[in-house]
Symmetry: C2
Subunit: 431 residues, 2 copies
Amino acid sequence: MEPCFLTAAAAAAQIRDRKLTCEALVRSCLARIAERDGDVRAWSYVDPAHAIAQARELDKRPATGPLHGLPFGVKDVIDTADMPTTQNSPQYQNHRPAKDAGCVAVVRQSGSVILGKTDTVEFAAGGRKALTRNPHNLAHTPGGSSSGSGAAVADFMVPLAFGTQTGGSQIRPASFNGVYAIKPTWGAVSREGAKLCSAYCDTVGWYGRSVADLKLVAEAFRFRDLAAQQPVSVKGLRVAVCKTPYWDKADASGQKALATAAGRLERAGARVQELELPPKFGGMNHAQRTVMQGEGGPAFLPEALTFGAILHEEFRGMADNKLEITGAMMVESYDLIADCAKTFDSICRDYDVVVAPATPGEAPEGLQSTGDWVFNAMFTALHTPCVAIPCIKGAKGLPVGIQIVGPRYTDARLLAVGAALAPVIDVDGTH
Amino acid sequence: MEPCFLTAAAAAAQIRDRKLTCEALVRSCLARIAERDGDVRAWSYVDPAHAIAQARELDKRPATGPLHGLPFGVKDVIDTADMPTTQNSPQYQNHRPAKDAGCVAVVRQSGSVILGKTDTVEFAAGGRKALTRNPHNLAHTPGGSSSGSGAAVADFMVPLAFGTQTGGSQIRPASFNGVYAIKPTWGAVSREGAKLCSAYCDTVGWYGRSVADLKLVAEAFRFRDLAAQQPVSVKGLRVAVCKTPYWDKADASGQKALATAAGRLERAGARVQELELPPKFGGMNHAQRTVMQGEGGPAFLPEALTFGAILHEEFRGMADNKLEITGAMMVESYDLIADCAKTFDSICRDYDVVVAPATPGEAPEGLQSTGDWVFNAMFTALHTPCVAIPCIKGAKGLPVGIQIVGPRYTDARLLAVGAALAPVIDVDGTH
């Protein structure tokens, strides 16, 4: 098998056992990119010579961290010292940060090769869409805003890649591309050097092709309690299936994904119950949107003042507070979110895990829309960890995933539960 | 009068009326720095030729924004594209960011001259102290971590300067140096390009020598409701004097400052009442510390991995979670803070403004300690706007201020109230 088809965890093991060199893995990824990226267009920047040089250096050294030799893609709203960071904005095409973002520094120091930058929705917040196409069907979006990262991992161009989520930008592309992803607890990963949109919502996460892949990266970030986790048995596991207050937005494929996941878990011996959230959660998406847009004003004011009329109108609109979001609306939203976060954590005590839709269904056709993030916004604002797991192929033959969710700061436990659930939910094991 | 002694508001008016050039103002500030900074050591970087060149360019143009021609100091944890950003860290001595921080871009585009970088506690979070000395008595600290910014504004070296507050780094130096400061509502000013310590607490603010100075900068940041504010009369104003749950930490000078402010307001016709916060607020400082240190782990992990043993042990300690802060402790702290924030806003409905201590008293002797931030941590975590107002000279002849506080997102109203209260509280009008 070509090394690019290995999961990160499998590649790491082969590198550790000296059955695979980092250089061979990088070359395989680069060959895959050369072969496929003319169609998929996941990458905004790759410098093959630089990637190979990094890999050779790593091959000379003993393993320095959990990600030794593993190539990593970086969403192009995240700063890299050795590559441009364009934000997919016409105003940043030649921008070269002086310093790696915090998350990039962590994986680089943990042995990763930064393979390149992946295309993104402009500033991960609006404006221009990525050029990336869904590798399962090029006529469809891969989702956004982490478009390139989701597609690149799905298409075997790189085993791991960073995304970010402010609304639904990490988990939605995972579902649309049939890959795994984690949006960690807010605050558990440094957001320094990733474009600011909403300090309250912005969260750095990553893609992989297995839960073990996601966990490898979590080790690099020293997530709490990782070492203390015991293997989880699906038998008897208390699973809450939560349709969320937005279930009417799920189409037939989205409904089928959740029902299929629930059915598979039940047949595997889990105790599956439906969880209906209290009515106040119905205001969560509106609150998330208010906070995101309201904080987006100050966040895009520097760009609005610096670039004026050439800046995309969506960002000027935020800086101008076109939605007329008042301070009272902000406070009301923060307070509702905080109240629901406390309630959600408390509800979670009765279950081992919450299973929820990741997207309304399959990836829409065309690149004009990156799809609806109605099932993501609430969990972003709640600051809860979410792990996306592929589940079915929908009516159009495209992947649809689900997400598992836990209370804040239980990322390690959620990954342990995910490791048990994934083989049951993702039976086709596309990856 | 030498232009450097003008407040920002007075200088702006003279520049607008063409009685003062930007170049003359900058030259006056530079002369003051040349005269005084050998003693005060507020600045880590000043390039006089560059500052004068910026000023000359501005003198050629019509006013472009509310800060036209006003020199601005920038705390050296905040990125500047045309100057180093050293973080006062041995590991960043030669660091040159490729891009201005969001807050710097806003004031630059609003007409400010970036005069230079001001010394700071390392990363604004621990480690090395600034070399800055209190201009009122060089044997004393100016406070921290915004040491240089507070001292530079106090010593007439620059009319305006950015600071940051994660614990008490904005308001405390204001009190110790006898200047005005605002710590805005969290989220109202972009924190992009300022060193990350705690995303939940980090707040960019600024110093001036009058409330009108603070308001000028707030205009540049387009604070909500500024234009709608009516002049406030002290007569009949409902003032809550809040000793906070930490009143036992106030020394005689600190107690005198609060009592003096209350007495002056009462004599001016305000309806002054004492406000005792509910018992749960007693846990606020502990919660703030837990959140700050707990988020500091992920925030300093990139530095810990990159620099290893040469990084100051305080930051390695955070990255290693030496305080053993658990996820449950984080969640408990966030939930207490959110609960208290809602309560505080609700309490504020019965008053026009809350007056609280800014520091326990005068600036301590020596530079080993930057003083206690016991009266700041709670309000940082609550995300409420705070404005520091000078009040008295303490037992050692050093300034002691107080702070006025309002509910979240009422910064404009707080500045309007502050404009009315300042002449009453700051009768000596040192600035």
